[in-house]
């Protein structure tokens, strides 16, 4: 996100950092890449971020009051990985990004025994490295 927010007034950058979540990033980054206009991208991102933040606070309140009423057998927590899956699929745009995802997926299972969910960070780095290697090999060929 940093390259896109560069050049904006510091106040905007600090607000953006506060609103930066995985979902806001996924919704905003596409807009930044497609429209060359930085201000339009930034205002889109801030709008998304504020809406997500408000919804999040509101949902927390509902969860606080009604959370215990919903039976755990409904497996509603599965919505979280589904949401990330919906964000993930459009990022698999070419061969290198698919290799990055594949490597990260294998690594995260292989490294599952690591403490403190370090497997997540390590697998992410493995995936990024795999993607970059694949990109370099394709370019030199």
């Amino acid at each position: 996100m940093a390259p896109h927010l560069k050049g904006l007034p510091p106040r905007w950058r600090h607000a953006s950092a506060f609103l930066l979540t995985d979902q806001a990033f996924a919704a905003g980054i596409r807009r930044f890449r497609e429209s060359g206009d930085q201000r339009s991208g930034a205002s889109y991102f801030l709008g998304t971020g504020i809406l997500l933040w408000a919804t999040w606070q509101f949902s927390c309140l509902i969860g606080y009051w009604a959370g215990n009423v919903i039976p755990s057998a409904w497996s509603l927590d599965f919505v979280v990985p589904l949401c990330f899956l919906a964000l993930l699929v459009p990022t698999l745009e070419d061969r290198s990004t698919r290799i990055a995802a594949l490597a990260a997926g294998v690594a995260v299972v292989a490294l599952d025994a690591l403490p403190m969910r370090l497997s997540l960070i390590c697998a992410g780095l493995v995936g990024i490295a795999a993607g970059m290697i694949s990109e370099t090999r394709r370019r030199t060929r």
């Binding site: 950058r13 930066l20 990985p81 589904l82 699929v89 997926g105 299972v109």
Partner: protein
């Protein structure tokens, strides 16, 4: 110090650290030029990190219990959802069909088992 106070302090400190970690890159690369290698790596962050988040939530039915078969309803549902995400590019459709696929798979497993 009362326990309630301790909790509030923990919440504020964790919140501040979280915010600063997000601000760090934004603030840093507003000042200095991003090294080309880092700029190249950024392209793979969403694909790699999102996969690393999703995969464990799908293939583990319990801590350290890897299930790679149709008896894992989460795996079945995730495959359905991935297909829907690919075809529709809609997060809402993905989450709704994914949840429905999960419930159907769980129900079928109960009926069969």
């Amino acid at each position: 110090m009362s326990p309630a106070w301790t909790w509030w302090i923990v919440i504020l400190v964790v919140g501040a650290l979280n915010y600063l970690s997000r601000l760090s890159f934004i603030a840093l690369f507003a000042r200095i030029e991003m090294p080309p290698l880092v700029a190249r790596a950024l392209r793979f962050v969403p694909a790699a990190m999102l996969t690393a988040i999703v995969v464990p939530a799908v293939v583990f039915t319990a801590p350290a219990t890897l299930v790679f078969s149709y008896t894992n309803p989460k795996l079945v549902a995730a495959l359905v959802a991935a297909f829907v995400a690919w075809r529709t590019k809609s997060a809402t459709a993905t989450m709704m069909t994914g949840m429905m696929a999960l419930w159907i798979a769980q129900w079928l497993l109960r009926e069969a088992g």
